[in-house]
């Protein structure tokens, strides 16, 4: 007799309750064979009578309430109102092994020997009743309840997921409540209600909050947290001088109003929106218009667009209309959210491609906005959360009833689509002008390919090439020419963008929206029943919101962006907290499901969500409230009790120091060097990219020569700026809520050896040397611009010693190993820029500086000092 007991990983004696067991992949073929051998219709009269008089009443009385397909609530995926139901079994596998009571889960359950596995759960059956079930199974489980084979021709779908009831008690699916701040012993510490929640937790553990951080530390912390770069020396000076009670709130308001706020917090959202400017996957097709979505995000955050609106526009901006053409255009651009995801343009089957795109969208939406991993239910019911495959295909129906507009030029053989036409929105810019040299080069390429094409035509006319050879070569030539043609069409001869460049990625409703069919195991050629499209009953939603008209994206958006949704406000409040405290109240920022981490401070999370909602979903307001708390203003100082009780600082007894992201490190260097180009460039260099396979060197050059803030750098899925990658940039094919923080030698090497860092250090040194101050003051300025504080006396003596040692090496000609090498690299770089038609880099600071060998040596020594500060731990760690 085959063993059909679901296998349980050998993890000791703990029995897992029936519904929580991992589903057994039931390769119980022995059983299947024995069932096939049974005469289906031919029950003997005694067997039939036994079933009808004894077994069926018991099943109805004790089991149907939770295990009947008519009942609506099917627990454990098991139905017992049909023969097929117990044969198929629930998530623990088949319920009955005919003829073998001891191997039958049903018998095990009704015997109730294992309290965790007992059925019915609350009351043990009497011995007589158990005996009836045992007898029934021993007889081979005769069961006349065989469905009419003509009743349905759709393939029934195996169930077996987590029942909806499993989510009923889950904290994250319960409504957000507005908790009263707890009583604390020492309320003097509390600036606002947030502090009460923190302090109550600390007091419970016998901990005290750390002292307030110094003003120098505070302005640096706030500046990086809100703007993504350090405060200027003047800002530090003003803040230190301002002894008024309003000093902090004035500073907070100024930073919140800075355009840099949107660049900082926009980047946080772009991580969650898995933003990139190319398709990733096999080909990495460039998306030349993705930047419009990026800029929309930055603007929306700077304007403090209410977060519900922010989400609604990204999901359904095309369905929201607008009062002006500009507003309509802007709402359309917002839907770029749905279009900028990774895609496999080489996929040959349109339907498969659409399914994959919809899946990627569902994954991004549910993880990013709801903290749920609904995409797990594409091929089977979700294994840990009450999300069924039906739920998934309800959502898929919505996404598949929309047409994603991603462009994909240059992929003549692959998947392409329209784009959104913005030509009518006058105030929307056309993007960056293409450099004249690059334009000319593209034109040359295009013409060159053109003459090869005409040559091929004439050779064909004269019969020099065979027809198949002709076709093959022509296809290759056209494939090379098409992307070049496409770029040229978007710019006029002066290099200015044409109306063809006024397009955006996004989405629109299909002309004929339709429900999707559930796909067994997610397989395209294995469709089961059609599932009505709609917002599925996930989280707190009991009944699906079915869609009568249109795709349903607006209904989905409205459900997500509603005050009543228990997840939306919590998930975002948690993200905001994470970016200010370094760790989320819920550590698994993308998973608020049953397997996610529980909140460390549930009441605080609900308090934040309540405040978020009370202030009309204002991100800026919630940030303001949090940074006004005493908790945010704690020092990072350690104390022994805290380290002993809570070394991870999960209770927030101090501020956690954290390492800055690559963007902040790069931007801080540019700020310190004075080379930063402020503001949005108004486009992306990716939009000049000819060819479907981006030329690495071209992009690397574009990144190295850009002085824009990091958020504006080209970000391809297979290539982003080295400095951003080295400092744990996000994998832009996935939703990233919380970045990694590593500490590896490649980061040290970058700071020591990269030409880019060296050049910025030269720029900063050159600027310092141009100031009319003495060297002591120069050092002070160098520290103030980078670390926001003057050097200590120990540091001054270290610098003195460094200048002496290093100067001696310089004087002896032993410091520079590779200056010629570097100059040669600079020359090569310029030549390449010329060749690629890019604007040439200006003179390097060393070239500009000129002067005697001694002057040059002085510049190099000061550059080495600046570089050392960039390289120091303090520069990249925020206290």
């Amino acid at each position: 007799m085959p063993d059909v007991t679901p296998s349980i990983p050998d993890r000791g004696p703990n029995r897992v309750p029936l519904v929580a067991r991992l589903p057994a992949v039931a390769f119980v073929l022995g059983l299947a064979a024995s069932l096939h051998g049974q005469s289906i219709g031919g029950l003997s009269a005694p067997d039939l009578q036994f079933f009808e008089s004894k077994v069926r009443p018991l099943l109805i009385k004790h089991c149907y309430q939770c295990h009947a397909s008519e009942g609506g609530r099917i627990r454990g995926g098991l139905v017992l109102d049909s023969r097929e139901g117990w044969m198929l079994g629930g998530i623990s596998g088949p319920a009955v092994v005919p003829g073998d009571p001891d191997s039958s889960l049903l018998i095990e359950a009704v015997r109730g020997e294992d309290p965790d596995f007992q059925m019915p759960p609350n009351r043990k059956l009497g011995e007589a009743e158990v005996a009836i079930f045992e007898e029934w199974v021993r007889r081979g489980a005769p069961d006349p309840r065989i469905p009419d084979p003509d009743a349905s021709n759709a393939t029934p779908v195996p169930g077996g997921g987590v029942p909806k009831e499993a989510g009923e008690d889950h904290w994250a699916f319960a409504p957000v409540r507005s908790p009263d701040p707890p009583r604390v012993e020492d309320p003097r510490w509390c600036t606002n209600e947030i502090d009460a929640f923190i302090l109550a937790g600390l007091e419970a553990d016998g901990l005290k909050p750390a002292a307030r951080a110094s003003k120098t530390a505070l302005i640096r912390r706030l500046s990086f947290d809100l703007r993504g770069h350090q405060p200027s020396p003047e800002e530090v000076e003003d803040f230190l001088a301002d002894r008024s009670d309003q000093a902090w709130s004035a500073l907070v308001d100024r930073f919140l109003a800075s355009p840099a706020f949107g660049e900082r917090w926009g980047r946080h959202w772009l991580d969650v929106a898995r933003f990139a400017e190319s398709s990733g996957k096999e080909q990495d097709v460039p998306y030349p218009h993705a930047w419009r979505y990026r800029d929309w995000v930055i603007r929306a955050i700077n304007e403090d667009l209410p977060y519900d609106q922010f989400l609604r526009m990204q999901l359904a901006g095309d369905l929201l209309g607008g009062r002006t053409r500009e507003e309509v255009g802007s709402n359309l651009v917002a839907t770029g959210y749905l279009a900028v995801g990774p895609k496999s343009h080489r996929e040959r089957q349109r339907r498969q491609f659409e399914l994959d795109v919809a899946d990627e969208q569902i994954d991004t939406i549910t993880q990013g906005m709801l903290g749920l991993t609904v995409s797990c239910a594409r091929c089977h019911d979700h294994k840990y959360d009450p999300v069924s495959q039906q739920d998934y295909y309800q959502l898929a129906g919505i996404m598949m009833s929309s047409e994603t507009l991603f462009g994909g030029y240059g992929t003549r053989s692959g998947m392409q689509s329209d784009l959104i036409d913005l030509a009518r929105s006058d105030s929307i810019g056309g993007g960056l002008s293409i450099p004249a040299g690059l334009y000319a080069r593209l034109l040359d390429q295009h013409d060159g390919l053109g003459s090869q094409i005409s040559e091929l035509e004439s050779r064909r006319a004269s019969g020099d090439v065979t027809e198949s050879e002709y076709r093959q070569r022509m296809r290759t030539l056209r494939q090379r020419q098409a992307p070049v043609e496409e770029v040229l069409a978007r710019f006029d001869e002066g290099g200015a963008p044409t109306s063809l460049n006024k397009v955006a990625m996004g989405i629109r409703d299909d002309v004929a929206p339709a429900d999707a069919r559930l796909l067994i195991r997610g397989e395209l050629d294995n469709p089961a029943e059609t599932v009505p499209r709609g917002v599925p009953p996930i989280a707190d939603l009991r009944d699906p919101i079915l869609i009568e008209e249109g795709s349903g994206r607006l209904e989905l958006a409205n459900w997500i962006a509603s005050e009543g949704n228990p997840l939306t406000a919590r998930v975002m409040s948690n993200r905001i907290w994470l970016h200010l405290f370094g760790s989320g109240i819920v550590a698994t920022t993308e998973n608020f499901g049953l397997e996610g981490a529980p909140p460390s401070h549930p009441a605080l999370l609900d308090h934040l969500a309540t405040r978020f909602l009370a202030h009309d979903w204002s991100v800026k307001n919630l940030v303001r409230e949090i940074v006004h708390s005493s908790a945010y203003r704690m020092a990072t100082d350690e104390h022994p009790a805290g380290l002993r009780v809570d070394p991870d600082n999960a209770r927030y007894w101090r501020m956690s120091p954290y390492r800055l992201e690559g963007e902040a490190i790069r931007d801080a260097i540019l700020y310190a060097a004075g080379t930063i180009e402020l503001g949005a460039p108004g486009g992306s260099r990716v939009s000049w990219l000819p060819g479907r396979v981006p030329n690495d060197e071209y992009l690397v050059e574009a990144m190295l020569s850009s002085d824009s803030r990091s958020i504006y750098l080209p970000q391809m899925r297979t290539l982003s700026a080295v400095i951003l990658e080295t400092f744990d940039g996000p994998e832009s094919s996935f939703v990233t809520g919380d970045r990694d923080e590593t500490n590896v030698p490649s980061q040290a090497l970058l700071m020591l050896n990269s030409d880019w860092v060296t050049r910025q250090a030269d720029e900063m040194a050159s600027m310092l040397l141009s100031l009319d101050v003495d060297d002591r003051r120069r050092q002070e300025i160098a520290f103030l611009r980078t670390l926001g504080r003057p050097p200590t006396s120990l540091e001054r003596s270290a610098i003195r010693r460094f200048f002496a040692d290093f100067g001696a090496l310089l004087d002896d000609g032993e410091a520079i190993d590779d200056q010629r090498g570097q100059q040669a690299r600079d020359r090569v770089r310029r030549r390449n820029q010329r060749r690629r038609g890019l604007a040439e880099a200006p003179e390097t600071p060393l070239e500009r500086h000129g002067g005697t060998a001694r002057d040059q040596a002085r510049l190099i020594a000061w550059s080495a000092l600046c570089q050392s500060i960039f390289a120091s731990a303090e520069f990249r760690y925020l206290d």
Binding site: A635, S733, S746, A798, F802, L809, E814, D817, S868, S872
Partner: protein, 470 residues
């Protein structure tokens, strides 16, 4: 042997808190590295503890180095190592029960042959690995908890799919230290950023120095290198002066900072980076390999060039004393088009892996180098999308070679269709316990106290698979 007999677990790390070690003592281990300039500070401590100095294991080790060939995406055991004639015989039959009801069984389209004296079956996709049959222990009853890539990858690397925990490379380094202070002790060659990302080589709560150093590898002819590995402007001596200055600034930060771990990690990274500039280029530069080596690893053939380079680098690192080396091959997630994709994927790794085993053996290194092969899970016997296979965490194959395991040995088995491990079941926790055992470490004694409790790579699980020990 009592716990205090071996060097590391006695009183240095477990009884002294890491923070005391790092900060309380004014010259924590980070300081050691620039002893030259820090002598004045460290005068009170003649020999500051170096956390990466070689340490004695718990008992005599069978291996001192690990090379983990990590197949990301879940390679199909059924088409490489786990021969299932019944699956072939029942090809096309539909499953009539269970969640996958209706799915059709798919026998491996690839031919299997017994290899070596042991007669272990290898498919035609891995003929070269098959020629090493008698050096290999097959673990055919592997199973893990979660059939999803990211979780399973993270669990394979850290033991936990839920929490952030140190990777096994970090645990190894913590337990044994490393023998070459000029190279990182834990290197991961060509890791993919997805599927768990940096967690796969992270140190979590262990000291940051135990973290893996990623060596990115690209396709094509660009030599693999760590970016910015060569000095841009300064001579070696001038850069040393500059690093001395940086370390003085870091030392100053260490006195004030609330994050001694982070600062110490930075300090350590500069010293290692400085030394790596001299040592790493030679290890990474496979261009100079001789003709025999190029042929052995398939460096000059397009399909094998990338992974061949990675394997050759791994051998050189092992030779140089790097403790734990991971080598990643991605792209094993064959939900469709399995016939062609498996052929491509296997071609990419078969010759390089065989070359690595040959090379290690010829250099006499295989005895104390433990080579691990495996992916995060296996695949289903039933077909998906016609010609593909779905994820399967319930049964799959990994293998080990060298470093104290039996050769030509098969352990465990899946059922007739290869769906589920039924015999000699080895969970990832058991796998971890066995690897540590081969390194001379008792997985129950390799602990680290964090947040008030002792953590282990194997948590509260893990059994050493003693049957496979040579």
């Amino acid at each position: 042997m009592t716990p205090s007999d071996h060097g590391f677990c006695s009183n240095r790390i477990t009884t002294m808190s890491r923070r005391e070690m790092l900060k309380g003592v004014s010259c924590g281990f980070g300081m050691l590295a620039f002893a030259g300039i820090a002598q004045s500070v460290c005068a009170r401590h003649a020999t500051p503890p170096n956390p990466l100095a070689p340490k004695d294991p718990h008992f005599a080790p069978r291996a001192k180095t690990v090379i983990f060939l990590c197949m990301s995406g879940g390679p199909s055991h059924l088409d490489m190592f786990d021969y299932k004639p019944k699956l072939v015989a029942d090809d096309g039959k539909a499953l009539s029960t269970g969640r996958r009801r209706g799915a059709r069984l798919m026998g491996s389209p690839f031919k299997f042959t017994p290899r070596g004296e042991s007669g272990i079956q290898f498919s035609e996709l891995v003929p070269n690995i098959g020629s090493h049959a008698d050096k290999i222990t097959m673990l055919k009853g592997m199973h893990t908890d979660i059939p999803a890539h990211a979780q399973a990858q993270v669990q394979m690397h850290t033991g936990s799919f839920q929490f952030v925990r140190p990777s096994m490379g970090a645990w190894t380094l913590y337990g044994l230290g490393t023998e070459n202070e000029n190279l990182p002790g834990f290197v991961t060659i060509g890791p993919n950023r997805g599927n768990g990302g940096a967690q796969k080589y992270g140190s979590a709560f262990l000291p940051a120095v135990t973290q893996g150093t990623p060596i990115p590898v690209t396709n094509g002819n660009r030599p693999a290198t760590v970016e910015n590995l060569s000095r841009a402007r300064f001579s070696r001596s001038a850069q040393r002066k500059q690093i001395d200055l940086i370390q003085r600034l870091n030392e100053s930060a260490l006195r004030r900072s609330g994050d001694p771990d982070g600062i110490n990690g930075v300090i350590q990274s500069y010293e290692l980076a400085f030394r790596m500039q001299d040592t790493l280029p030679a290890v990474l530069d496979v261009g100079g390999a001789d003709a025999r080596t190029r042929e052995l690893y398939g460096l000059d053939e397009e399909p094998t060039a990338r992974f061949g380079r990675q394997c050759l680098m791994a051998r050189r690192m092992a030779e140089s004393g790097v403790r734990f080396i991971e080598v990643t091959a991605s792209g094993w997630d064959h939900h469709r088009n399995l016939r062609q994709s498996m052929l491509d994927s296997c071609t990419g790794i078969d010759k390089p892996i065989a070359g690595l085993l040959t090379d290690l053996e010829q250099r006499g290194m295989l005895d104390d180098t433990l080579v691990l092969y495996g992916g995060e899970f296996g695949r289903t016997p039933d077909a998906q999308n016609g010609d593909g296979r779905d994820h399967n965490a319930k049964g799959f194959t990994m293998w080990m070679a060298g470093g104290g395991v039996k050769g030509g040995f098969e352990y465990g088995a899946t059922d007739d269709y290869g769906a589920e491990a039924v015999d000699g079941r080895v969970h990832i926790h058991d796998w971890h316990a066995t690897i540590l055992h081969l390194l001379g470490l008792d997985h129950e004694r390799l602990t680290y106290n964090h947040a008030g409790r002792d953590f282990r790579l194997t948590d509260v699980h893990g059994n050493v698979v003693r049957d496979i020990l040579a």
